[in-house]
């Protein structure tokens, strides 16, 4: 995979990037399925109204910041400023983990307010929040793992790698999960 070029001479999109776009379409369909199920369910009886924990605002800020840092990392890579690049992808990964931690503390907040997400006392309204948010967190985790892989590769590999394709793909994906969260955040706050 060392010979992979990031952009093709004839201007066509790289197949692996294209695969990512189709995969993102596929992920969108999964969340579309879940959020439309949410809307259907909401119109039925026995729906709990509750306020979202404040900490979701902080997690939103964290993930938006991480989108900025990964963009800077991509620019640093292209400028061959590897030290800066490594710092920036480390920061991005940490922000990803922070985001997940904040989401979990949001769940804990709900539990503390006696609004359980799961279990026999739970209401579908919060269960939906739990399932959708956890699925989104798993997608963020996937991005963190991908960053970890290229991070290790940047240290271990003896061959200098000038292809920006992996980081380009990951940053596209990272922005995607960011937008996905913003959509979900707006959905949970105002569209529901």
């Amino acid at each position: 995979m060392v010979l992979v070029k990031s952009s093709q001479a004839d201007g066509r999109i790289h197949p692996q990037k294209f695969v990512l776009w189709v995969a993102m379409g596929s992920i969108v369909m999964m969340f579309a399925g879940l959020t439309s199920a949410y809307i259907v369910k909401k119109s039925q009886a026995n729906w709990l109204e509750y306020s979202l924990p404040l900490v979701f605002w902080y997690s939103t800020i964290a993930i938006i910041t991480s989108s900025i840092t990964i963009n800077m990392a991509l620019k640093a890579f292209k400028a061959r400023e590897m030290r800066q690049y490594r710092t920036l992808i480390t920061v991005t990964s940490l922000l990803g983990l922070l985001f997940m931690g904040l989401q979990i503390s949001g769940f804990a907040n709900l539990e503390a307010r006696n609004i359980p997400l799961f279990g026999s006392k739970s209401n579908s309204a919060t269960s939906f929040l739990g399932v959708i948010t956890i699925l989104h967190m798993l997608h963020v985790l996937g991005g963190v793992i991908a960053l970890l892989v290229i991070f290790i590769r940047a240290y271990v590999s003896k061959i200098k790698n000038y292809s920006s394709l992996p980081i380009e793909i990951i940053s596209t994906y990272w922005h995607f999960v960011d937008f996905l969260w913003i959509y979900l955040f707006i959905f949970f706050n105002w569209l529901r």
Partner: protein, 605 residues
């Protein structure tokens, strides 16, 4: 041999327009493991899908023979059944639990493992790179993962047959509450856990495969292969992949909610339930209908995921063996596109009797009946392709014509079932069984058989035995109609599906002879498929050898490869394409390969 091919391929690659191709230079000598097991060659992966699909077809088909025994001979005992099924057939009589488990597993296995993975897994893998002119898939590694996820899904499903409480038995659609509550039935316990794990793995496999198919078709076509020069097989497999990639995630989200209901006490699908022996459940506010919406949002596109590859292959085989261009190439693409769009807009026709708002139902009736338009366009195009053709009745051609016949017969009853008013009477009767088995099950099997007979020489460098092929075809087509035609009458008389024993019902007693007849034919047809398998495996090793690279006089690119292509498909450069795939009988020439430049005296397509 493969190492020379691989070397050539590397020397040729620098001059190619798709420079992204980058194989590891150190993997030239192939071991048994890298060639036959963890292969990244799309042709080998296709064969893996095909043979794994065959295993499941035999198992799923045999299950139907077993439950047909119960339906045809409800009063008889078969001591040998106890030998193979043990406690599930005490005294040689299939128990109700075993009957439901057999019906459920038959449905799941045939729909997903045979007609999705076995059909589009095989032919998308095999034909896409060969017919678009690519060395391999966009990501050979993902392609390999796709197969091994499918294989693992199969292992998990297979293991569910052997657990103490039996496999899942609540129907292939896995509606809650039977699928959500372990206490609901024996099959709802471990069997359902394994079912859902298996299906989750299967969804991952389908997505990995589908992403690859789409990327390969759109990005890796050889020079000159514009989208409108693609063979219809590729268009069909492309739409299939798009449907899969957009609909399987929705099924997946339905499964996730189901897992939470099963294991984490949530109430997405459950409300006000009292289980015998377990008492009243605390779950409130759930809706089982919600699952049906999520399920059928996949479930209906799934029908076309199964059918479209067969349609594509049939178009190609009909044109090749009628020695005529396909009639209405653009109309074929347009109608497949229309089918792909409509596939997402008709799911609620499976739910007319769930209490769906009748006004909403009427919209779904309209959209459902609209599918008749592209379907009819396709049928007329196939018939006009055959019209005045110079037809060669190879086994592949017979199966392709058989497909058209079955698609018409099964499609017409779809117009009945698409009416919400008629559906009140016909819902969940044998009429539905007859309809979908003919139009989707058997028709797609016919498309698959046509594809196997047609491309077997490309796969293995040998021919299948023709005589056995004819025997296989005639018994199967006669059998298909003899099995499913009578079921229409049973269904119109109101005979419900999924009952264990009809002989105790005054209204359905009259059908006991008919049921016995259906069961007998089912056994004969099943035995004939074993004949086909014998032909298949014998011919891999001992079949008549292929002497020319292009045995059918076909235009498409796969026949420009060597008789046994190595990994990389073409030893030299990938050929350039100058024309569409259907120049048969043009200007008095029998066929003109896609790689032939357009001559000066020739009318341009």
């Amino acid at each position: 041999m493969s190492s020379e091919v691989a070397l050539d391929f590397h020397s040729g690659v620098s001059s190619l327009h798709d420079t992204h191709h980058s194989h590891d230079e150190h993997h030239h000598h192939e071991t048994f493991i890298s060639k036959y097991v963890f292969s990244m060659d799309h042709k080998m992966i296709a064969k893996q899908f095909l043979i794994t699909g065959m295993f499941w077809a035999v198992l799923g088909g045999f299950m139907s023979v077993l439950f047909r025994l119960q339906l045809g001979y409800p009063d008889s005992t078969f001591p040998w059944l106890e030998d193979i099924l043990g406690k599930w057939a005490k005294g040689g009589h299939i128990t109700p639990e075993a009957y439901y488990a057999l019906v459920t597993t038959h449905g799941t296995v045939l729909v997903f493992f045979v007609l999705t993975a076995g059909l589009s897994g095989t032919f998308a893998n095999f034909l896409i790179p060969l017919q678009v002119g690519a060395r391999d898939m966009a990501s050979p590694f993902m392609n390999m993962l796709s197969f091994w996820f499918f294989f693992t899904a199969g292992i998990v499903m297979l293991s569910s047959i052997f657990v103490e409480t039996g496999p899942f038995s609540g129907g292939w659609t896995a509606y809650p509450p039977l699928s959500a509550l372990g206490d609901a039935s024996p099959g709802s316990k471990t069997g359902m856990d394994l079912w859902i794990v298996s299906m989750a793995l299967f969804v991952v496999s389908s997505l990995l495969g589908g992403l690859n198919y789409i990327a390969t078709v759109l990005n890796m076509r050889t020079k000159g292969m514009s989208m409108t020069r693609l063979p219809l097989t590729i268009w069909a497999l492309f739409f299939t992949a798009v449907l899969g990639v957009l609909s399987f995630p929705v099924l997946f989200s339905g499964f996730i909610l189901l897992i939470f209901d099963r294991n984490f006490g949530t109430s997405f699908y459950l409300s006000d339930i009292f289980v015998n022996g377990a008492g009243a459940l605390p779950n409130e506010g759930g809706s089982a209908i919600l699952y049906q919406h999520l399920f059928w949002f996949l479930g209906h596109p799934e029908v076309y995921i199964i059918l479209l590859p067969a349609m594509g292959m049939v178009s190609e085989i009909l044109s090749t063996n009628a020695r005529k261009p396909i009639f209405g190439y653009m109309a074929m693409i347009g109608s497949m596109f229309a089918i792909a769009i409509l596939a997402f807009l008709v799911w609620a026709h499976h739910m007319f009797v769930t209490g769906l708002n009748p006004f909403l139902g009427s919209i779904f009736v309209l959209l459902t009946l609209l599918i008749a338009v592209p379907s009819a366009i396709k049928v007329f195009n196939w018939l006009t392709t055959l019209w005045r053709g110079n037809i060669r009745f190879t086994p592949a051609m017979l199966f392709a014509i058989g497909f058209v016949s079955l698609f018409i017969s099964g499609g017409l009853t779809g117009i009945w079932l698409g009416n919400s008013a008629l559906d009140i009477h016909l819902h969940d009767t044998y009429f539905v069984i007859a309809h979908f088995h003919i139009v989707m099950g058997v028709a797609s099997m016919f498309g698959m058989f046509a594809g196997i007979y047609h491309w077997f020489p490309k796969m293995y460098g040998r021919f299948l035995n023709n005589t056995l092929g004819y025997v296989h075809f005639w018994i199967t087509i006669a059998g298909a109609y003899l099995i499913f035609w009578p079921m229409h009458y049973e269904g119109l008389a109101g005979m419900p599906r999924r009952y264990y024993d009809y002989s105790i019902w005054e209204s359905f007693k009259q059908f006991s002879d008919l049921n016995r007849f259906i069961s007998t034919v089912a056994m004969i047809v099943f035995a004939t498929q074993i004949l086909f398998l014998a032909n298949f495996f014998y011919s891999i090793f001992k079949g008549r050898k292929l002497r020319t690279a292009n045995p059918w006089g076909s235009n498409t690119l796969e026949w420009t490869t060597p008789i046994k292509p190595g990994h990389g498909n073409w030893p030299g450069e990938i050929p350039e394409v100058y024309r569409w795939a259907y120049d048969y009988g043009k200007d008095g020439t029998d066929f003109i390969s896609q790689t032939t430049p357009v001559g000066a005296d020739e009318s341009v397509h």
